[in-house]
Amino acid sequence: MSHWLYLHMRAMGQALQRLAAQPLGSMLSVLVIGIALALPACGYLLLDNIARLAHGVSGAPEISIFLAMDAKQAVIDEVMERLRDDEVVKTVRFVSRDNALQELERSGLDDVVRALPENPLPDAFVVTVKGDDPALFGELSARVKRWRGVEHVQLDSEWVDRLHALLELAKTAVLALACLLAFALVVITFNTIRLQILTQRHEIEVSRLLGATDPFIRRPFYWFACLQGVLGGVAALVAVWIVIGVLQSPTETLAAAYGAIFTLRGPNGMEALALVGFAAFLGWLGSALSVRRHLTERLR
């Protein structure tokens, strides 16, 4: 075990020496990896922040059921009873046409209300539904529309659903971008290791003659790519934090203009770890493929 650890520590030392031997080249490679990873990471965090904002604004989705203007008390009672008996419905709140008018007045439209010859608002029910499956809202809405005395059913969360759909689309786009950039990083690492194998051809051949095993020769290349990936991941984190820092103030100003308080969140500990780990994995994958392709031929 200690021998295995010693060999890995030595390989890591060799990899660090190779990184340090070409500081400019190493820094440029790390920056390329960092920027490539920062793009999808920023996209992911931006979408997550928007989703958080949308969830906070929408709260529990509601359905408003408006009755006909001439609906009698018997119709109101019947609708109330049917809603209470419906297994999908979680809460029911009746808003009489008089209460609705008062709410309209309180919202700052008292001048408009006073100018009206009569109350134009119908009696209504505000319903919340168990669960958050959009299909339940649709089914309930379609069912209620057929009831006697019901004039109109409005799904108050429709815009949230549309936003969620848009967010899902954007998430898929970010995922596709992440996959493309990850592939690009694997290709970059593949080529970097290929060039290293070419420049160290003599050392590899000498080591083989002296009894070096395949893992002994491959290890420094794996470590080099992993370390480069880790440094690239850290660079990506720094870039993400810079972007979040730049956007923080304008976002807070925008939220304040709508009377809200909203702070952009950066990557948490697990997300930061996942980003760096993913970068290291991509480095390892690129080097493993390159070593398999270019070194095996030289080893025999």
């Binding site: 021998h3 010693y6 030595r10 000498v206 083989r208 003659l209 009894g211 070096a212 002994f216």
Partner: protein, 221 residues
């Protein structure tokens, strides 16, 4: 012990480097492998180190059939050999010490023990105190001695060298030949290819002479 049993090596294209070569080199023997350029000397040494495989026949090193060795077992065979190649194969971007210590690093010796043995090997070939220099700063004879130090640092039971005295003036060549003879006196089996067998004659070594891939003199093979 090195045993060649009816070994033939034919390269793609039809060139035959070795043809039905058989000989035995016993433990602790010193043998000089002679022949003209292209006689098959280097090919024969490469077969001992499993760099080349025979087309026919068997090569046995300490009882192990090298011709059937799995690729994963080849490094372990090479660790039991001391190899001095014709062009030395030194790493010129490393120090003298780093060159000598490399076989010990490969075999996983602890750093302190490796440093001690590398220093001893350098002393043995007369390069003590030159560890921090680069090989490029050494003379031809010193580079050859450095290659020998690297070959013996793992204390091999068999030492093979391909033209270790080529390109050296007579004084250096004599010095190098003395080194090989001293290793042999310490019990190491030594096989050296050379154009100048006279350098090793004081120890009355075995002579193995190749001519166009065929063994013409085996001295008791």
């Amino acid at each position: 012990m090195i045993v060649f049993e009816h070994v033939t090596k034919r390269y793609p294209g039809g060139y035959t480097a070795l043809a039905d070569v058989s000989f035995t080199l016993r433990h602790g023997e010193l043998a000089v492998l002679c022949g003209h350029s292209g006689a098959g000397k280097s090919t024969l040494l490469k077969m001992i180190a499993a760099i080349e495989r025979p087309t026919r026949g068997r090569v046995l090193i300490n009882g192990q059939d090298v011709s059937r060795l799995k690729p994963s077992a080849v490094p372990y065979l090479r660790r039991s050999l001391g190899l001095v190649m014709q062009d030395n194969r030194l790493l010129h971007d490393r120090s003298v010490f780093d060159n000598v210590v490399l076989p010990l690093v490969i075999t996983g010796h602890p750093p302190k023990e490796a440093a001690r043995r590398a220093a001893a090997a350098l002393e043995r070939v007369g390069l003590a105190g030159r560890g921090n220099e680069r090989p490029i700063g050494l003379s031809g004879g010193e580079q050859q001695r450095l290659a020998i130090a690297r070959a013996i640092v793992n204390r091999p039971s068999i030492l093979i060298a391909d033209e270790p005295t080529a390109h050296l003036d007579n004084a250096y060549a004599v010095e190098i030949s003395r080194l090989f003879k001293s290793f042999n006196a310490a019990g190491v089996t030594v096989l050296v290819t050379t154009h100048d067998a006279a350098l090793f004659m004081t120890n009355r070594p075995r002579r193995i002479i190749l001519d166009h891939g065929k063994l013409v003199v085996g001295d008791g093979a």
